[in-house]
Amino acid sequence: MSCELVSTEGLTRDFAVGRGLGATRTLRAVDGVDLEVRKGEILGVVGESGSGKSTLGRLLLRLLEPTSGRILFDGADLSRLDRRGVHAFRRRAQPIYQDPYSSLDPRWRVARTIREPLDAFGLGTAAERETRVAELLEAVGLSERHGAARPHQLSGGQRQRAAIAAAIAPRPDLVVADEPVSALDVLVQAQILNLIASLQREFGLTIVFITHNLSVVEHLADRVAVMYLGRIVELGRTAEVLRDPQHPYTRALIDSVPHPDPARGPDLSALRGEIPSPIDPPAGCRFHTRCPIAVDLCTTVDPPLRADASGRVVACHLAQLDQHAA
């Protein structure tokens, strides 16, 4: 059965840090991630800074090469593609970034940026591309006037609409959106989330939605993967994971979000301590230094990802799963 568009096996990416004098150290930003993204779903990826969620996104788009492990896109191994294969893949997988100012060339009029992928992939004739740019502007709620403007002349929301238009221009199958609404105000955020949802429905997009905002995931994502220090610690259907988190980190993350309802009482800070440096992650379970329920086993043995019957995946020694093998 090929209901997954992307799957990764043991995906790992290292970065060298501390260049220049002194020994270089290795930062393992993404560490052995096995992940499947299903066709037509919105998969939320949540985590705090240093969780590796952005690196994972760039790996999925092949904007970074994995150190080890592999990515299958529609059945094809991305690392085995030749130049033409990569070019063809790029058309099918597009990014949307957090900061719509730095994702648009400040010297380019917006319409030119939207047209860029059409030119690069050779989609349609020159006249067809013009028409397509106008259609795309309209599809994201912008006018020709906005198309003729440079990014600094637009508001944050308008810039993000333009960036989205450029991303969907080559009719991709996969969109990796890295914090696309985090820089936006609430009302603009709501408009952009609605836009992303409607485009997803209209074009049957598969979206990997990377964010630190659990409310956004709750609203938008079919499934959610929770990352901590380069690993996926829990993955499952969004409603189930948020209602009944099995990993103590997921629970802490949910409890830490200040709820916009004073009647729910002040949330006590669920976690002591800080996120450890990914350069020198703790032995055993990486979360044990902050875990409220850690036992001796956690300090030495790295918990494997275990799946239950419903497809929920958790990496915790203490999680009570229905032990039907998966």
Binding site: Q94, D99, P117
Partner: protein
């Protein structure tokens, strides 16, 4: 080039000023254009021959027929200044142009690709920084003999690592912008990404630096000529004239002051261009 000419044809003066980087840069460019014309037309403009010696008027003061006076050999200072612009502007602009021609591609490629490519390109360039300009000029002379070209090459060699480093660092910064990564995701080739996104956004600091360095080149040329490593007498160069005039500053200040003023005007013009471009090249300043 053609696109620029076509565009300029429809432009009104005020717009032209804006496109040239505002009033400051326009003034600087205006002065430089005049100076380059002066250098080119020196044979026409100069009232006397720059080399003609009038033994009766050694160190004579300014008069109607010789407004800048005479130098220690009885030559007309005005005519020599006009001719000196040829050597001085030629050396300074030529040195910067040569340094840019080599430094831009090196800096762009090193900054964009980084890693091993960066090291391979930039380490040899850094070695140049360690070469003293004077030693370099002297060793060049041993190959080619002295002259303006030696000064030009020596200055270009000093400037090459400076400009390459400036370009590299601004390209490095621009390459980290998301629109560059985005362009790759949108299927744009490296060459095209560099040409259409990286270079236009990264060139600013290098152009500013280059215009300031061009002004400074006049002073290096003066020093080299003073040591006999640059323009050779009787070819007039502003640096040489400044050095010669300094010896007679007490008796005949005009022999020193006018070449000095000529250098100052040129340096100021280059700096005006640099400052004007600095503000112009901020993309938020682009109108319409």
């Amino acid at each position: 080039m053609t696109a620029a000419t076509v565009a300029l044809r429809h432009v009104r003066p005020r717009e032209l000023t804006a496109r040239l980087g505002g009033r400051q840069a326009a003034a600087g460019i205006g002065i430089l254009v005049v100076l380059i014309l002066v250098a080119l037309l020196a044979p026409v403009l100069a009232p006397h021959s720059p080399d003609a010696i009038d033994a009766d008027h050694i160190l004579a003061g300014p008069s109607w027929s010789h407004p800048f006076g005479f130098d220690a050999l009885g030559r007309d200072v005005l005519s020599r200044v006009l001719f000196a612009y040829r050597a001085s502007l030629g050396v300074s602009i030529g040195a910067v142009a040569l340094a840019l021609a080599l430094g831009l591609p090196i800096g762009i490629v090193a900054g964009y690709f980084g890693g091993v490519v960066d090291n391979l390109l930039m380490r040899p360039i850094d070695l140049l920084l360690a070469l003293p300009a004077l030693l370099l000029a002297i060793s060049l002379i041993s190959i080619t003999g002295p002259g303006e070209l030696v000064a030009l090459f020596a200055i270009a060699t000093i400037y090459l690592p400076i400009l390459a480093r400036v370009v590299r660092s601004s390209v490095l910064a621009v390459s980290r912008e998301l629109y560059v990564e985005g362009a790759r995701a949108r299927g744009v080739s490296h060459a095209r990404t560099i040409w259409s996104h990286v270079v236009p956004n990264a060139l600013g600091p290098a152009v500013v630096q280059a215009s300031v360095l061009a002004g400074f080149a006049l002073q290096i040329e003066a020093a080299l000529s003073f040591l006999g490593l640059g323009a050779q007498p009787p070819t007039p160069s502003l640096g040489l004239m400044l050095a010669d005039g300094y010896q007679v500053l007490q008796q005949a200040p005009w022999a020193d002051i006018f070449p000095g003023l000529a250098i100052a005007i040129t340096v100021v013009a280059f700096n005006l261009v640099g400052d004007g471009l600095r503000s112009k090249l901020d993309p938020r300043g682009i109108s319409g």
